[in-house]
């Protein structure tokens, strides 16, 4: 299997830092903004963003929560097996707030659609934005685009984007391509 490094450790730190700057620019003062990470893979990015925002931007405590979208997915009963669910930890009210959905990779857009649906269980936000680390830009199946994106990637459908976390530090982002055998 071929592997290509999309972001090395330095790129990762720079990218997350840039996302923090961009978000802060729009959301300062931080009294009406809630960051919502999508379970399971958006959780670590959420934690990294919140930690950096609180440490470097004098935001005060950033309201945040984790949302599990399993029960809102549109591929239920269209898969072989039921999907595994993760806990939802939404201890914040999003009624009238500005919500930023945080996820690691934006691919077809179906997770984000399900997340918009699931968010409705916790109130009506004033507006919702989307922040992703990796945007696989030519793979969308729904009209959904990110407001903040770390890196745009052109990946084929059989390829996978993998994030390597070491504790709370993002070490690298890889593009994995299984052997591709062209038809003769």
């Amino acid at each position: 299997m071929a592997q290509k490094t999309l972001l090395n450790q330095r790129d990762c730190a720079v990218t997350i830092s840039r996302l923090c700057h961009q978000i802060n620019e729009v959301h300062v003062p931080w009294d009406r903004t809630v960051l919502v990470g999508l379970q399971p893979r958006g959780a670590k990015l959420l934690k990294a963003l919140v930690a950096q925002l609180e440490a470097e931007f004098a935001t005060g405590p950033v309201a945040n929560g984790l949302l599990d979208i399993t029960f809102h997915r549109d591929d239920f009963r269209r898969r072989e097996e039921p999907l595994a669910a993760s806990p939802t930890e939404m201890n914040v009210l999003i009624e009238g707030k500005r919500v930023i959905i945080i996820d690691d990779v934006l691919y077809t857009g179906r997770s984000v659609r399900a997340a918009l649906d699931a968010l409705g269980d916790f109130g009506r936000p004033e507006r919702v934005e989307l922040c992703v680390l990796i945007d696989r830009r030519f793979s969308r199946e729904l009209p959904i685009q990110p407001d903040y994106s770390g890196r745009r990637v052109d990946a084929l459908n059989h390829e996978r984007v993998r994030l390597n976390w070491n504790g709370s530090t993002l070490e690298s982002v890889l593009l994995e391509s299984p052997e591709y055998a062209p038809e003769r």
């Binding site: 029960f71 009963r77 097996e81 039921p82 999907l83 939802t88 269980d121 916790f122």
Partner: protein, 316 residues
């Protein structure tokens, strides 16, 4: 814990033949649904394109409400049917009633009936997923699952724990499902009650019989106290209600004499002052209202897992 596994059967007819992993799977998912029903908006769209028929050929309040709530919280379309208001009174056979309902394109059927084996009968004949909500004195699997879920929530893992089922074992489908289910989870199960209400062959299931209630309560981590089912008693099984209460009723005085008080469960409805005094039923030892809440979560898990087995195009 195999989080991604499927249930092995298309139906939930009883716990006797359900493997331990499937029971664990249902309890695991029930945890997720418990979180869902404690949200401000308690509804998820998972069963949006499915129709569930609740066929209650025997009276029930809480089981029917619990199933109905579980179905609605999963966004299924629900049709209700109860024998007292239907064509069963006009002489229609079970098979005809069911064919008619299935002609209405129902995906899941929840059925309660006063005869044992009706759920199995349907499972062999109709293409929908069948959930047994109690068949005669045979099984009531979702009740046993919610009992196990409640025990797990209150006392942790059930492996090696001791549970005594108290009272009318003979007429109880809850007792039988509890025995099958709990034993698969590694629980030591015993029964205690008037000898006339304990089936003679019970020891063949590996269940101990403890004659004296005090000994049983001292032994157990959990006491699942059953309702005295007057409606199923065609003759006198014990001399009087007072006598029953004296020997097998759980009172505060009895509990105060114990070194450690077990968790008290009751499937409801309670005959207050017969199996349990009001004082015990309303005490912190009892988890009766937890059972009611968990019932919805466990039934959501069962319906969700069964529904996830069939792709839309295969559903009849």
């Amino acid at each position: 814990m195999p989080q991604n596994a499927k249930l092995q059967s298309r139906h939930l007819l009883g716990l006797q033949h359900v493997p331990a992993e499937d029971i664990q799977l249902i309890l695991h998912w029930a945890g997720h649904f418990k979180e869902v029903i404690n949200r401000p908006i308690k509804r998820v769209p998972s069963l949006r394109d499915l129709t569930v028929a609740n066929l209650f050929f025997e009276n029930s309040t809480r089981t029917r409400l619990s199933f109905e709530l579980a179905e609605k919280r999963l966004s299924a379309d629900v049709v209700n049917f109860s024998a007292s208001t239907s064509s069963v009174k006009k002489g229609e056979t079970l098979n005809d009633t069911v064919s008619n309902i299935l002609a209405m394109k129902v995906d899941l059927v929840v059925i309660r009936h006063s005869e044992a084996g009706v759920a199995h009968f349907l499972a062999d004949r109709v293409p929908a997923h069948i959930v047994n909500a109690g068949d005669g004195t045979h099984e009531h699997p979702t009740q046993a699952l919610l009992d196990a879920f409640t025990m797990q929530e209150r006392i942790g893992s059930l492996e090696g724990k001791k549970v005594v089922i108290v009272g009318d074992i003979l007429h109880s489908r809850v007792a039988l499902s509890n025995i099958f289910g709990l034993q698969k989870l590694g629980v030591h199960v015993a029964v205690s009650g008037p000898s006339t209400l304990i089936p003679r062959a019970i020891s063949e299931l590996g269940v101990e019989v403890i004659d004296h209630l005090d000994d049983a309560l001292e032994w157990a981590d959990v006491a699942n106290v059953l309702r005295v089912q007057h409606e199923r008693m065609d003759r006198a099984f014990f001399p009087s209600i007072r006598e029953y209460h004296k020997r097998y009723g759980i009172t505060m005085e009895r509990l105060n004499r114990l070194k450690q008080v077990p968790l008290i469960l009751h499937p409801g409805p309670i005959n207050r002052g017969v199996e349990l005094t009001s004082e015990v039923a309303d005490s912190p030892y009892a988890a009766i209202l937890n059972q009611v809440e968990n019932g919805v979560a466990v039934r959501m898990a069962v319906l969700y897992l069964l529904a996830s087995q069939s792709a839309p195009q295969n559903v009849v």
